[in-house]
């Protein structure tokens, strides 16, 4: 049961490894970026799991209700920032892939290497 209690963290580790493996093993530049995104997503789940309190609600002040358990909002806010960064990274990465495709006519890593070595 104790292992199941860490359910979120198992998911974090699994996603992290899937993302990381995709990044390393795939030669396709877009797939690498997908791997990177999955990898970054795992960190988002890690942060949100850290802040979650059982039975806690969103930290909004409501009239007439005191003694409410709030989930810690800071990790969520931090991860909102990290999401923005992730979006920006992905956008820059995809833009680079588009430019690479225009310059090389392919987005397969090994084919790009072949073209570079010929020059």
């Amino acid at each position: 049961m104790r292992l199941l209690g860490y359910f979120n963290y198992w998911i974090v580790v699994a996603l992290m490894m899937i993302g990381f493996y995709t990044m390393i093993s795939r030669g396709n530049l877009v797939k690498k970026l997908v791997g990177l995104s999955v990898f970054q997503t795992s960190v988002m789940i890690l942060y949100i799991s850290l802040g979650k309190i059982f039975g806690g609600t969103a930290p909004i002040l409501l009239e007439g209700e005191e003694h409410v358990v709030y989930t810690n909002p800071i990790p969520s806010v931090l991860i909102l920032t990290a999401i923005v960064v992730g979006v920006a990274t992905l956008a820059v990465g995809l833009a680079l892939v588009v430019r690479i495709h225009e310059a090389y006519g392919t987005i397969e890593e090994d084919e790009i290497h072949v073209q570079d070595d010929v020059m």
Binding site: K32, V85, L96, I112
Partner: protein, 491 residues
């Protein structure tokens, strides 16, 4: 105004970046960028004198007290790094105007300066902030703009190098976020000073060593510690000249700063070196980096690439000094931050001059440049001598402190490797010098000397190489104070 200086240091460039884009005219946006860089340099210098006179300066963003709010904290080390980053920017930007007009399409120039200023903002922010999550945000600001800057290189390989850097840099940054998150989960705080207070109580847990490991790998990726340096040579080689000169002298330096911050200020030297034994990893890697990367540099056919590998070797010197974990060793590392920025800045700017006139940085293409571009190549020679560590240059000062630090600990072998590194540096610098001075220039239209707008900034840095090589009292004094502060030995 004066009490707002820590934040104005970062905010003025942050405002200048969109402004450089909005003015649309290449020259105007260059002026905006130049103004931002000079402002940052001025602010950094006055912060440094302020810190040296009266100790660390704190600043509460939004009036929220730390540890709840974000705090900017300038101490000796951060002020030092601020001076390095903004000083290099203030020299590179005058150089950039002509170089960029030659290398980048006209309608992209405002975007180029926007990205360059954003990159500088990010690097300054990392140095100024006292909040670990803020470090990550600024790190990504600087990295994302650096990816864009590198991709603006003329060769299509600039695109693939930028992509490679993006993947590895993002992995590094994500590792840093994981480390920060794990620290937060154990302490509930993100403020560096507060973390330093709370971490010892929970240091025995399993989480904190894991956080430590994630941070160590993430930061090492960013500072291009051998064997995590694979992104660096291509990125430096294919980026536009001005970008290479700026990034090579600042980005990895700021990553070394992060290393010092995390492992000395946040975790504390005792935990990092006596419990986690960080030195047992850093020291061998640094030694391998010095020898192996210098050897690789000797075999390079492209001048910029040669210098890029030399940078990885030089990062080895900084990390080596830090891994000694003594006041003298850390001081040598901090001193080399500054000195290496000076020499690599001047060397890459000399390469930028070559690129401007010759259109290539291949070593073969430099045949006879000693005669046709005497001032450029003289700058290269002085920078090269500094890289080797000849007396009267800054390189000598760093090596002197490093060797002293090694001998202080009785590590003769390390001192020997440092000297071997100098010999190898002699070999790769000679490779360029030999082609430039002892081979006849190729027939055909002669190459003229680079224009003054390129030469003057280059020679400003060269002069700094010599000046701080002769009068090292100021630089070494600051470095020693920073090292004492980091090791908690009092100032």
């Amino acid at each position: 105004m004066r009490e707002n200086l820590p934040v104005l240091q970062v905010v003025v460039p942050l405002l200048a970046a969109p402004l450089a884009f909005l003015v649309r005219r290449p020259r105007l946006s260059w002026l905006v960028a130049l103004g931002a860089a000079f402002w940052a340099f001025f602010a950094a210098l006055s912060l440094l004198t302020g810190v040296l006179a009266s100790g660390a300066i704190g600043y509460e963003i939004g009036g929220w007290e730390p540890p709840w709010g974000i705090e900017y904290r300038i101490d000796e080390l951060s002020a030092w790094v601020l001076v390095i980053v903004s000083g290099i920017a203030a020299v590179v930007l005058p150089f950039a105007r002509a170089s960029v007009e030659r290398e980048i399409e006209r309608d992209r120039i405002p975007l180029f300066y926007t990205a360059l200023i954003l990159c500088m903002t990010g690097l300054l922010g990392i140095a100024a902030t006292g909040d670990v999550f803020n470090v990550f945000v600024f790190l990504e600001i600087s990295s994302l703009s650096a990816y864009g800057l590198i991709a603006m290189g003329q060769n299509r390989r600039a695109l693939t190098s930028s992509y490679q850097y993006l993947i590895m840099g993002s992995v590094g940054a994500t590792f840093i976020v994981i480390g920060i998150g794990l620290m937060y989960s154990m302490t509930g705080t993100l403020n560096m000073a507060d973390l330093a207070e709370r971490l010892p109580a929970v240091a025995a847990s399993r989480t904190i060593p894991v956080a430590f490991a994630f941070l160590a790998v993430g930061v090492s990726l960013k500072l291009a510690l051998f064997p995590l340096h694979l992104w660096l040579p291509n990125a430096y080689t294919y980026a536009p000249s001005a970008v290479t000169a700026f990034i090579a002298s600042t980005a990895t330096k700021v990553a070394v700063y992060m290393l010092l911050r995390f492992f000395f200020t946040v975790f504390g030297a005792a935990f990092s070196f006596e419990v986690m034994h960080l030195d047992r990893i850093l020291m061998p890697l640094a030694l391998v980096a010095i020898v192996a990367m210098s050897l690789v540099a000797i075999n390079q056919e492209n001048g910029k690439r040669l210098l890029a590998y030399s940078s990885v070797a030089q990062i080895g010197y900084m990390v080596l000094g830090i891994s000694l974990a003594s006041v003298l060793g850390v001081a040598a590392g901090v001193l080399h931050l500054f000195n290496h920025a000076l020499m690599k800045g001047s060397l890459f700017m000399a390469m930028g001059c070559v690129m401007y006139r010759v259109g290539s940085c291949r070593v073969e293409a430099m045949a006879g440049l000693g005669k046709t571009m005497p001032f450029t190549m003289a700058a290269f020679v002085v920078g090269g001598l500094s890289l080797i560590g000849v007396p009267l240059t800054v390189g000598f000062i760093s090596k002197w402190y490093l060797v002293q630090a090694a001998l202080e600990k009785g590590m003769w072998g390390i001192a020997a490797v440092v000297l071997l590194g100098s010999l190898l540096a002699l070999a790769y610098v000679w490779k360029v010098v030999e082609v430039a001075y002892f081979r006849p220039p190729p027939d055909g239209p002669g190459v003229r000397e680079a224009p003054l707008s390129l030469l003057i900034p280059t020679w400003v840095l060269v002069a700094a190489n010599l000046w701080f090589g002769i009068d090292a009292k100021t630089t070494a004094g600051v470095a020693l104070r920073a090292a004492r502060m980091l090791l908690g030995a009092g100032s």
